[in-house]
């Protein structure tokens, strides 16, 4: 289906799909490689600079990239240093993944219905929106002490903080999505015989889906961003936890390993969400 649809150009009435649209595709394999090739240039430069600035210097506080690479290999597979960190990556990654996704899911379960209600019902908006707007600028880090008092040391605080980080992007985008549904679509639905009670799931929900999806994507991103803060609450495992711990032990190479793994895991999880979005929202010009 999609192959023929790609060729529909605006302005074509019922004429057959325009042939010249397909022409630039001749170099598709090359073009596919161009973006990754471009994307790799900057990190390579950073690596080279990092290497030149740190390699062979005895008292450098920052380990050279080769040492970090060895540490990362040892963290994942062991066999080099055989210390407390060897072969523990999967444990920490799994712990962080469960907190990120757990916190994210809880945030979504809370923020989606709340956002739909605030967006649709003016009484809810007047009741809750001012409070939420005041709470929103408070950084997750600032909640850390209070969270440890309320939820105690350990994983419950971590869940709470991650959840908090993911909550506002989901909420704000859901409210925005619901509120910015084109009024014309309500008119169209009602003149076609769709009653206002049915308009919520037949118009409001689908129309605000792209914005809700953007909120979920941002929320998941923020969950990764705040994972280190979340794991400052005294949990023994997790990528954030080893970063804090390794910092205290001056194992900077482990700190950098943690950073790299968080970056890559966050990137992959965002890509998965984006692919899902492209499948579900292929109708939207913003996602297709």
């Amino acid at each position: 289906m999609s192959a023929s649809l790609d060729a529909i150009s605006p302005g074509a009435l019922t004429s057959p799909p325009v042939a010249e649209r397909a022409q630039p595709r001749r170099f598709a394999p090359l073009r596919r490689l161009r973006d990754p090739a471009l994307a790799i240039i900057f990190p390579t430069l950073v690596l080279v600079f990092w290497h030149l600035a740190t390699y062979g210097r005895k008292y450098s506080l920052i380990p050279p990239p080769t040492e970090v690479a060895r540490a990362l290999y040892d963290l994942a597979f062991g066999g080099i240093y055989d210390d407390a960190y060897s072969r523990t990556l999967h444990v920490h990654l799994l712990a962080s993944l469960s907190r990120v996704y757990g916190g994210f899911v809880i945030a979504a379960i809370l923020a989606l219905p709340l956002g739909l209600m605030i967006g649709r019902l003016s009484i809810m908006r007047r009741l809750l929106d001012p409070t939420l707007q005041v709470l929103r600028p408070i950084p997750v880090t600032a909640w850390l002490p209070l969270s440890m008092i309320i939820f105690g040391l350990g994983p419950r605080s971590a869940f709470f903080l991650v959840c908090l980080g993911a909550f506002y992007p989901i909420l704000i985008n859901t409210i925005f999505g619901v509120r910015s549904v084109d009024l014309r679509l309500f008119e169209a639905a009602s003149m076609l015989g769709c009653r206002s009670t049915a308009q919520f799931h037949r118009v409001v929900l689908p129309a605000s889906l792209p914005a809700i999806f953007t909120g979920l994507r941002l929320g998941l991103g923020f969950a990764w961003v705040v994972i280190v803060v979340g794991e400052m609450t005294g949990v023994p495992t997790g990528l954030g936890a080893i970063i804090i711990e390794a910092r205290q032990l001056s194992r900077t190479e482990i700190v950098i390993c943690g950073m790299i793994v968080i970056g890559i895991a966050g990137f992959i999880s965002d890509r998965i969400v984006l692919l899902l979005g492209k499948r579900l929202l292929q109708w939207s010009p913003n996602f297709a």
């Binding site: 605006p10 302005g11 009435l13 084109d182 008119e187 009602s190 003149m191 037949r202 889906l209 109708w283």
Partner: protein
Amino acid sequence: MPDGNGPLLELRGVCKEFALPGRRVQALREANLRVSKGEFVCLIGASGCGKSTLLRIVAGFETTTRGQALMSGAPIAGPGPERGMVFQDYGLFPWLTVRRNIAFGPISRRRPKAEVESTVDRFLKLVGLQRFADAYPHQLSGGMKQRVAIARVLANDAKVVLMDEPFGALDAMTREHLQDELLEIWERTGLTVLFVTHSIEEAVFLADRIVVMSPGPGRIESEVAVLLPRPRDVVAPDFNEIRRQLALRLHSHQPRKAA
């Protein structure tokens, strides 16, 4: 083409006022209009003459401040499928394919599935969009979108099709195509059409009767019956004569700047 049972649509002394901060604006004053079944009526006038307001009252999107709007003798209370609206900006549901857009009305009215599918197929064919049945609106040209919008109200058994400058955003070629197609559909289905336009040529080309409106406050000024046989030739002398008459009527109500 009156069917003997009174007009299909009737406006009796319809007034519409809008409240703006600090003042009230009269959008429509004392509008009286009767439209028979099967008639093609164009509303024409400068902006602010209330033609869109009148259409929106018939659609049920606006209430009247005074007066009555009747459909088949019963007061119009809110939008309904028997009065289908075609918007200038299409108003298609972007998340639904062409097929699902056309099916939206029948599904809303809980028609059986098989009936919905056959209805959709019939109207896809009528507007010539079978090949684009599974495309999404953003993949279509303006002319194709407007075809979907027309098919969508027809598939929902609209008795009256209300069109608010439906071809205003289209290029001239596409507009002419769609005017021809609309007339063909109208002749084939026996629909009643209430069509708002600001193009004199479009009105003369399409209408059985042209309602001339003027602004400040919006009101119905006069009516012109167009008795030319169809298909109409837009460069024929009698076509131009009607066009000239209409232009005079429209412009005589506009205040000219003092020299």
